[in-house]
């Protein structure tokens, strides 16, 4: 890791190639693991691994700042939330939740088709000599695409691109940035409201009284008996996830 951290920003070197292939393999393998592992927690861990390798790839893309943000937000927050929910609900196995054969064939065929299209589109113009990033890359021939590289775009003392990104965010993209802040606020409020779980705590007078009107509306949504069953199970399960696994 040490070595990696020091060599990664150097564009065009063999180190980059090695690092790329290592992380690419990890990323693809973990991605396939995510969609194929039956155990949800294993899938989530694989997804964390995938995110970390994406973070590594960001390093080779001269975007160290993004790399750290990737680890911090995806690895540190989003996936923890995922695992938290999985464990809260105690649903780490989904043996019964598989698609039927026809759907599987169709899905894989469609995915393969799209993947083929991607390969078809990028192999060639983007995989030529000229597409090796860096200021000293050869001029692109016809049908080839050049890669400028970020090294000269960054400030002298800004190897990670934090300044580079920050300047853009606070100048060109001010309004999107503010909108993103608003979006986060709204999402927070929405999550708080959704997480009230008033229907499960009828004995709690405070909440029942506060939300009597809203609860009336929601009662109509309860179209089948599943909710009642879930509530029962939740109360009885006490420690989530304790009774589900078979070893």
């Amino acid at each position: 890791m040490t070595l990696l951290a020091q060599v990664a920003p150097t564009a065009g070197g063999t180190a980059e190639v090695v690092v790329f292939w290592v992380f690419a393999v990890i990323a693809l393998g973990s991605a396939i693991a995510v969609i194929s592992l039956r155990n949800v927690v294993h899938g989530a861990v694989m997804l964390v691994l995938n995110f970390l390798s994406i973070g590594g790839l960001f390093l080779t893309l001269e975007s160290a700042f993004l790399s750290v943000i990737q680890v911090l937000v995806y690895g540190g927050a989003i996936m923890v939330l995922f695992l938290f929910v999985i464990m809260l609900l105690g649903v780490d196995r989904d043996d019964l939740l598989q698609a039927d054969l026809r759907t599987r064939v169709l899905a894989i065929a469609g995915g393969a088709l799209l993947a083929g299209a991607v390969l078809f589109a990028f192999v060639g113009p983007y995989t030529s000599e000229a597409s090796v990033c860096g200021p000293d890359a050869p001029a692109p021939g016809p049908g080839e695409v050049a890669c400028a590289g970020l090294a000269e775009a960054y400030d002298e003392d800004d190897g990670a691109g934090a300044r580079f990104l920050g300047r853009s965010l606070f100048t060109t993209y001010t309004y999107p940035f503010e909108l993103a802040a608003l979006l986060l606020t709204v999402a927070t409020i929405g999550a708080v409201i959704l997480a009230r779980r008033r229907d499960l705590e009828p004995e709690d007078e405070d909440l029942a009284d506060l939300d009597a009107a809203a609860a009336d509306d929601l009662d109509g949504d309860d179209l089948d008996g599943a909710s009642g069953a879930a509530a029962e199970r939740h109360v009885a399960g006490d420690g989530p996830g304790t009774t589900e696994r078979g070893g």
Partner: protein, 647 residues
């Protein structure tokens, strides 16, 4: 300075007046309008005291009108009182400017004067009605509308008043709308007036297309430049509007039915003021009229036929107010005779005297009905002379005035119309008018004899009595005016009113009219008097000489012709057969079209959407993965298309 095309006298000077008495002329319509609003808003709080406000408003309007009239009399001119602009679109400008001249002054006095008296009369007549304040509000609205009509300096503003008058007339005819026949009478009046309004509007379109303006003074000024065809069309279109408002054949059918309204309304609106709006309009536009002699001839004949036929119908009516209603139609016919033969000033003169004596007669009829507990059959009356002395005396004067007995007002005005008709070469019109005059004397005598003279024939439960002072006072005032009005205003053919109105009346000298025969005025006047006397004498022989005893209908003559008169020439039935049934059939066709074609198209569109939705909604499986699969398919298609384009 504009030189107007009035050549009957010295032409008027046009003066813009923003100050002084003329400058305050806007108060005349504004006062009753304010009264209307205040009374309407304060109905609940003021209750019966509301009437005081309404009467004060009409009295104030009358006072201002008198002041305006005096100002015009003192310094004759066409005054324009600038007011705010109403419409200003492109080159088309309509203002609320007021036009005050001699004609306006006369009309103002008549409208506010009779209006005030009717307000006063209504205090007694309408006493105890549950919508008493509202009645006064409507009266004020009518007064304001009529004054806007009279003062308007622009045809469109005039039309605004014209329509408001129609509206208030509608409201007042249907004042007792609980009775379905009253409501339908109101509707009939309204719809019939719409026919005329269309004509009037087309006239305005034509006038605007021709002159590029609707300002009355400019129209009048440019009238001489009209081509004969345009003038003919314009005049007849204007006449169409006037005929509806003034109940001329064939649009007279609403007026007799309008008697369903309270009697003061009949007196004010359907005898003295509103129905004369058509006459006012035609006289106001007289320079346009004289541009087309053919059109004037048509007008004269319409007037003559109206006068004759309405008189014939009046002969066989039994309702105390219906007789007066048809009499009004007949008298309006006389006015249009005058307009048609070019005797515009005589038309206004008759308008004024008619307002006096017909207002008087209606109020007297109201007084009688009041006494007889709203009974209207004249065969159930008789001998009221003794119990209602004031009503009897005033009615006597009204009867003599309308019959054309000198020196009462009606004699002078009616005689001058007939004389002018003869002298302007309308011999046929003269003869018809003379017959109508005889019939007038006859049916009014019948009316008078059967009500006031003879033996009492009223039912045992009727207790006739004299009306209260608020009702008799207007009667007396109007009686005085009916008695002396003609003599005072225009005793001879070139009296003071004649002179006064000269600058606003178009001259017919240029039309080359010659007398219809060798007779002179010295012969024609005695003829008219004799005609009136003949009518009275015939009535006396038929209804008073014989004893008409209680409960027995004693029409001396019966037969198909009498039946025809009694059934009003079957005009209503004819209209029913032609227009109503046609309208119903048209409506049925439209209903069929609407339900089958239009609704069919709408429902078909709905059904088609439903059918499409029913099939396509199957794609909405609600399953997330289905949607993702569809998106994948879409993405593949898009990528494929893009690659095909690139490579």
């Amino acid at each position: 300075m504009i030189q107007l095309a009035y050549a009957a006298g010295e032409a008027n000077e046009v003066i813009e007046a923003t100050s002084g008495v003329i400058g305050a002329a806007w108060l005349v319509p504004a006062l009753p309008l304010v009264g209307f609003v205040v009374v309407l808003l304060a109905t609940r709080t003021l209750r019966d005291r509301a009437a005081v406000i309404a009467i004060a408003a009409s009295a104030a309007a009358f006072v201002v009108s008198v002041a305006v009239a005096i100002a015009v009399l003192a310094d004759p001119a066409s005054y324009v009182r600038p007011m705010p602009t109403w419409i200003d679109v492109g080159g088309f400008t309509v203002t609320f400017d007021l036009l005050v001249d001699q004609l306006t002054a006369v009309m103002l006095l008549v409208v506010t004067g009779v209006g005030f008296l009717v307000h006063l009369y209504s205090v007694g007549y309408m006493h105890g009605d549950e919508r008493y304040p509202r009645f006064f509000a409507y009266l004020n609205l009518f007064l304001a509308s009529m004054l806007i009509l009279v003062l308007a300096g622009d045809l469109l503003t005039l039309f605004l008043g014209w329509e408001l008058v129609g509206l208030s007339s509608y409201l007042l005819i249907g004042f007792w709308f609980e009775d379905a026949s009253n409501a339908s009478a109101a509707k009939k009046a309204f719809v019939t007036n719409r026919v005329g309004d269309v004509s009037f509007m087309v006239a305005m379109f034509l006038a605007f297309a021709t002159f590029g303006t609707l300002e009355i003074l400019e129209l009048v000024e440019d009238a001489a430049t009209l081509s004969s065809t345009t003038a003919f069309a314009l005049v007849l279109l204007l006449m169409g509007g006037a005929a509806a408002k003034s109940a001329q054949i064939p649009l007279h059918v609403w007026l007799p039915d309008a008697m369903a309204g309270p009697t003061p309304v009949s007196a004010l609106i359907h005898a003295a003021t509103m129905v004369t709006a058509g006459v006012y309009l035609t006289v106001r536009m007289s320079p346009v009229l004289v541009a087309s002699l053919d059109a004037m001839t048509v007008i004269a004949w319409i007037g003559a036929l109206t006068a004759l036929l309405a008189a014939l119908v009046a002969v066989r009516q039994d309702d105390i107010k219906k007789i007066l209603a048809y009499s009004t139609v007949s008298q309006l016919g006389f006015m249009f005779i005058a307009v048609g033969v070019g005797a515009f000033r005589e038309a206004i003169f008759h308008l004024v005297t008619h307002a006096f004596f017909k207002g008087l007669l209606f109020l007297a009829a109201g007084s009688v009905m009041h006494a007889m507990a709203n009974r209207t059959d004249i065969w159930r009356m008789g001998g009221l002379r003794k119990v209602m002395p004031v009503t009897f005396a005033t009615s006597l004067i009204g009867w003599l005035a309308i019959s054309g007995i000198p020196p009462f007002a009606g004699f002078f005005s009616k005689d001058q119309i007939l004389t002018e008709a003869y002298l302007h070469g309308f011999g046929g019109v003269y003869v018809v008018g003379l017959v109508a005059a005889i019939l007038t004397a006859f049916y009014m005598s019948r009316w008078f004899f059967l009500i006031f003279l003879g033996t009492p024939r009223w039912p045992a439960d009727a207790h006739p009595h004299e009306s209260p002072t608020t009702m008799t006072t207007p009667l007396i005032i109007l009686a005085v005016l009916s008695a002396g009005g003609g003599l005072a205003l225009n005793p001879v053919h070139s009296g003071p009113l004649y002179q006064f109105l000269a600058p606003v009346s178009a001259s017919v000298e240029g039309l080359g009219l010659t007398p219809a025969g060798p007779l002179t005025e010295a012969v024609l006047i005695p003829v008219a008097i004799v005609a009136a006397l003949v009518g009275i004498a015939t009535a006396w022989a038929a209804y008073l000489r014989r004893d008409v005893s209680q409960g027995v209908v004693r029409e001396p003559v019966r037969g198909p012709l009498a039946e025809l008169f009694e059934r009003k020439f079957f005009v209503d039935e004819l209209y029913e057969a032609v227009f109503t049934r046609f309208g119903r059939r048209a409506a049925e066709v439209m209903v069929w079209f609407d339900t089958r074609v239009i609704d069919g198209a709408v429902n078909g569109a709905g059904a088609a959407s439903l059918a499409v939705a029913r099939t396509t909604r199957r794609t909405q499986t609600g399953g997330v993965r289905t949607y993702v699969g569809a998106m994948l398919a879409g993405a593949i298609v898009v990528v494929a298309v893009l690659m095909l384009q690139v490579r």
